[in-house]
Symmetry: C2
Subunit: 134 residues, 2 copies
DNA sequence: GACTTCTGTGAGAACGGTTGTCAAAACGAT
DNA sequence: ATCGTTTTGACAACCGTTCTCACAGAAGTC
């Protein structure tokens, strides 16, 4: 009758998505991840990829950013703390960066103009050395 | 025969979109602008609104940012220099801010990891004092 | 294993913002 | 007024994402 809170089940698809994220060292879109799954021979529906990525984002296991064209990109992210990204716009390779100076700047700016409940998005895009070499 | 490079023509629609932007003091989406035009009795096609906004962005007369949900927001922006925004997520009211410290930080971070052709997006969202009062 | 229950899946439809199409309208120069 | 070119707008197409819902398949129980 009164049963356990209902856990997440371990399914083949869930494991496959998670495995792809582990092998990725940069951001990738849901559709790119779906393609990679196909290439591995894993058949996973696109909806399922989206659902599981969203679940991982909710569980704070995956970071989510928005590319210039509006597409959403995902990346495994263990770090529990607040941070930003330096992303290669060509290969997606990513470095996590954090800067307390930035956080303080954002808060100061907001306070100066009496804004509350402040959030900020800071992402740095560039071309990494190996991509620039080509 | 060989004629002038072809100027932008002054059309009713173009003027109407521009007028709306002048009356706006925050960011608004293309569709919101389209609605405002309708309320004024100006009949302008949605495609035309998008086209003219894009043209203004290209002409550096309008700033463009992407909201959390991916929607694109526009705002008249005279300032020629590089800057960022402090945006009220409730009413769209916007303050232009610039911080050389931030620019230097972004460049330093990129240089440290040998990234080139660096760009950054920094937007601060919050609730402005008048919206917070409600 | 067999049975049950409830979560997860997937094919496809729907959605929402944006861009493309193309014939008709209209600007501006003559 | 006329002409050549740009601009417009109704509508379709696009594209990433979310929704729907019948069915598959975890995990618990006996």
């Amino acid at each position: 009758m009164v049963e356990v809170p209902a856990q997440q089940r371990s399914t083949r698809q869930r494991r496959a998505v998670s495995a792809i994220l582990d092998d990725l060292d940069g951001f990738a879109s849901a559709q790119q991840i779906h393609d990679k799954l196909s290439h591995r021979g894993e058949k996973v529906g696109l909806s399922t990829v989206y659902r599981n990525l969203q679940a991982l984002v909710d569980a704070a296991q995956v970071d989510m950013i928005r590319a210039d064209d509006g597409e959403v990109l995902y990346r495994r992210c263990n770090a529990g703390h607040h941070h930003h990204h330096l992303v290669c716009r060509s290969c997606g390779r990513t470095v996590e960066v954090s800067g307390s100076a930035i956080e303080r700047w954002a808060e100061a700016v907001a306070a100066e103009h009496a804004f509350v409940e402040v959030e900020h998005t800071i992402e740095v895009f560039g071309t990494c050395s190996s991509c620039a070499a080509r």
